[in-house]
């Protein structure tokens, strides 16, 4: 991975490779996370993707991308620790597989999406903003359609109430409603003036041209800082009911205070506990006890949070909750077999070694590490994962504490009439 700091402060990364048939350019803008920022960035991404000065409608944008041999443009928001990112990414087929060269045109197009949007008199197009506000609100309302991720989101909201981290990646309906074409434009100007901006190129990209082309983008030096979640004084337990057949249990835990040095230990701990198909949750809660269709865990390292999730029969709530805690206690009591340690480590080594085949996943991972001040590259992380010991995992687990229990379950059924 090559990295140059452009004169304007933008870090331009180049992950060069000729084994692919496509290349991509990703623009990452880092902002401090809060509900208002998230709402504005999520909407701005949609508006920027909808029109530029040159192609002032979604239809014209789409036609332009078709003529660039199906180049794929996506603008969106991402939540990572206490940072909210606005990301614009374009992916296109490499020139050598096409009847004509398009790479300069593609780079120029993505730059215009960022710098030359469809703006008149200090405001974005009113119709576009209204339509995209509507779409974004509906997208938020639609969370309920996917009960698994809805339960995850509810658990985070309940657990982190009062912390900016409770904000959703797409913000909230209340904040979105406040946005006007003028206020969104002011936000856009502020974003370009006062944010850290990185650009990532992958595949066979035109690095020299990109250096020149992006030299008029401004960038600040620092990414927003993250503060680990402090935890609630008492364990919170919330049960909500809905018309569902399967219950969704999500348990939120706080992690011990840690720095980047503990990253690999935390990853191995999570892979042993519930972060893989060789984990304790998968093997015991799902396979041996047949209690659930899925049972796993996810780590939000720098925020100091882990969640364990499981889809279960509504009447198995207490039993599964206890079983998940028992699996955690087993780790705390050093009850980890050599097999479990080795499997967890090979699982992670496999994932991180394979990253070189997935340039976009690598970029998305690196942008997170930039937020966390992690300087290591995936190759080094693989080496460090292999060094993690069982004792380190046990020590880490001892600092993991249950904080919040959330259960989305079925409405009580009325007895069937005989």
């Amino acid at each position: 991975m090559e990295k140059v700091k452009l004169k304007n402060g933008v870090d331009l990364y180049y992950n060069k490779s000729d084994k692919f048939k496509t290349w991509s350019a990703g623009i990452y803008i880092y902002r401090p996370l809060c509900d208002k920022e998230a709402s504005n960035n999520a909407l701005l991404a949609k508006v920027l993707q909808s029109a530029t000065k040159e192609y002032p409608s979604r239809k014209e944008m789409a036609r332009k991308l078709e003529t660039l041999y199906g180049a794929f443009l996506i603008a969106g928001a991402r939540k990572y620790a206490d940072t909210h990112m606005l990301v614009i990414n374009i992916k296109a087929v490499s020139d050598r597989f096409l009847p004509k060269e398009i790479s300069a045109d593609v780079l120029g197009f993505v730059k215009k999406v960022l710098l030359l949007p469809y703006v008149t008199d200090g405001a974005f197009d009113e119709k576009t903003v209204e339509l995209e506000k509507e779409n974004l609100k509906k997208q938020i309302e639609a969370y309920i359609n996917d009960k698994t991720s809805y339960a995850d989101k509810r658990c985070t909201e309940i657990m982190c109430e009062g912390d900016n981290y409770a904000a959703d990646v797409n913000g909230s309906i209340e904040e979105i409603e406040k946005i006007t074409p003028q206020s969104l434009y002011r936000h856009y100007v502020d974003l370009l003036e006062n944010s850290k901006i990185d650009i990532f190129l992958s595949g066979e990209a035109n690095f020299e041209l990109a250096k020149e082309m992006f030299s008029d983008v401004k960038s600040k030096d620092d990414v927003p800082e993250t503060e680990a979640f402090k935890g609630n004084a008492d364990i919170k337990e919330v049960i909500e009911k809905m018309d569902v057949t399967q219950g969704k249990l999500v348990m939120g835990f706080t992690l011990p205070k840690c720095s980047n040095e503990d990253r690999c230990t935390a990853m191995v701990f999570n892979a042993v506990f519930g972060g893989s198909a060789v984990s304790k949750l998968f093997n015991n809660v799902r396979e041996k006890l047949s209690l659930a269709y899925y049972a796993n865990s996810v780590l939000y390292f720098s925020k100091g949070i882990m969640t364990a999730r499981s889809g279960i029969e509504p009447d198995k709530f207490s039993q599964v909750k206890e079983e998940i805690l028992k699996q955690l206690d087993d780790i705390k009591n050093s009850n980890i077999t050599d097999n479990e340690m080795e499997n967890a480590i090979s699982h992670l080594v496999n994932i991180y070694s394979s990253l070189e085949d997935s340039p976009e996943t690598t970029v998305s991972l690196l942008s997170g590490w930039i937020v966390e001040g992690e300087k290591r590259m995936p190759e080094q992380i693989v080496k460090d994962i292999k060094k993690v010991t069982k004792e380190q995992v046990v020590d880490f687990a001892k600092g993991v504490k249950l904080d919040t229990v959330y259960f989305l379950t079925a409405n009580e059924k009325e007895e069937a009439a005989v």
Partner: protein, 421 residues
């Protein structure tokens, strides 16, 4: 070993048939860190009536048996856990069942040969008992419960039931709690011995390797069995046209969702030119640059863009699905049906759509796992994924007009809607 070079794409495909009848396909990708392999059988949810191996009469098995079998193939006689075996070798493994196939696969960055042996060995070592079948009925029951709560899944299968009255493509892949309760260890062995015979199976490998070395590993791991003749299968005759033109289900959703189906009156799943022509038509009429999709979006009839897809794997069925979210799904359906029947487009739109699909199809080659999945799906269905590139470039106005006539009509149309009470 056969070698086919696709110069324009800079891809090379190696293939051979093993004496047992297994067909092997390999793509060597220098520089790829990921090695992916699949072992698939041409046996899916639609294969419910067939002549079992060594018998002479057709039998019918319970719905959902292919998916049930997929779960049970992971069961090992020594109680060993297949995921753990792969996990120990640093691989991630999984499987899925579709209408016409069951696929077992893994990807890894190390221990290629050991992992490949593990894949072939576990799929070739069935172990079904009364007890382990009963246990699985519980787990799959939970899985079916999850699908029952999934509005998109329900909407899709309701649409299929609106299109098809007889063909088993209309059935849920996992079956029902009732149908799977009728599955026994004996049913499983009968299906296994018939459809998991090497003559009905395919191995696909994508990664950085020497084809000869991988072929040697495969040849050594495969069980020695005599090659068998093709399995006689029977599908009920499906009448022309949709069964009904509207299906409605009530489930908790934030906004109504719809799936519009068009039954293809001349399914020809194996023909690359036909699939290319349908995809180009869908891109022009309903893609992000289309008049129809943008009007629905701008007039707030749909929430965002509509999605479209053409399913065509086997000779007996093929259908177009157009889906989206809408406060007024009936109006969306009306507009989509009108646009489809008119099928108007300019030469400029045709060129743009062909270029876009040509480029988008290149993405398949970017990742060894995705490549393996596509290769495996196409060879198991008797298709040629490499033929699609020329097919896209060769699509003509006449091709599009012909297929639009055969697919987009009032008779072939059904809209499935899921909404709150």
């Amino acid at each position: 070993m056969n070698t086919i070079k696709f110069d324009k794409l800079d891809e090379t495909l190696y293939s051979y048939e093993h004496p047992t009848g297994v067909k092997v396909y390999m793509v060597s990708k220098p520089g790829f860190a990921k090695f992916s392999a699949s072992f698939s059988t041409h046996f899916g949810s639609i294969d419910n009536t067939f002549v079992p191996i060594g018998e002479s009469e057709m039998i019918t098995v319970p719905d959902g048996v292919a998916h049930f079998l997929e779960h049970k193939v992971f069961e090992q006689e020594d109680g060993g856990n297949v995921f753990e075996m792969f996990g120990r070798l640093g691989a991630s493994a999984n499987a899925y069942t579709s209408f016409n196939m069951t696929n077992y696969y893994f990807w890894a960055t190390d221990n290629y040969e050991e992992n490949l042996k593990t894949l072939i060995n576990f799929v070739q070592a069935p172990y079904f008992t009364k007890e382990n079948v009963a246990k699985e009925q519980g787990i799959i029951g939970q899985e079916i419960g999850m699908y029952d709560d999934d509005p998109n899944w329900r909407c899709y299968f309701n649409m299929l039931q609106g299109l098809y009255s007889e063909h088993p493509v209309r059935l849920d892949i996992a079956g029902t709690v009732d149908s799977i309760s009728k599955i026994t260890d004996e049913t499983l062995y009968k299906c296994y011995n018939t459809f998991y015979h090497p003559s009905n199976m395919y191995i696909c490998v994508v990664g950085d390797f020497e084809p000869e070395k991988i072929a040697a590993v495969i040849d050594k791991a495969l069980k020695p069995l005599e090659k068998e003749k093709e399995i006689p299968r029977s599908y009920p005759e499906e009448p022309q046209g949709a069964v009904t033109h509207k299906v409605l289900q009530k489930l908790p959703v934030s906004m109504p969702i719809f799936s519009i189906g068009f039954k293809d009156s001349k399914p020809a799943g194996k023909s690359a030119p036909r699939r290319a022509a349908v995809n180009v038509a869908l891109q022009m009429l309903f893609g992000a640059s289309s008049q129809c999709a943008n009007e629905l979006y701008d007039e707030k009839i749909t929430n965002g863009y509509i999605g479209c897809d053409y399913t065509a794997e086997e000779p007996e069925y093929a259908f177009v699905e157009i889906s989206g979210e809408s406060e007024n799904p009936e109006e969306a359906g009306k507009r989509i049906l009108e646009t489809a029947k008119k099928a108007e487009f300019t030469d400029e739109e045709l060129e743009a759509a062909k270029n876009a699909l040509y480029g988008a199809s290149m993405l398949v080659f970017e990742d060894s796992e995705r490549y393996m999945q596509n290769l495996s799906k196409s060879v198991t269905s008797g298709q040629d994924m490499f033929a699609m590139f020329d097919a896209y470039m060769n699509v003509t106005r006449e091709d599009i007009e012909k297929i639009c006539n055969e697919i987009f009509s009032d008779e072939n149309y059904c809209i499935s809607i899921v909404k709150n009470s």
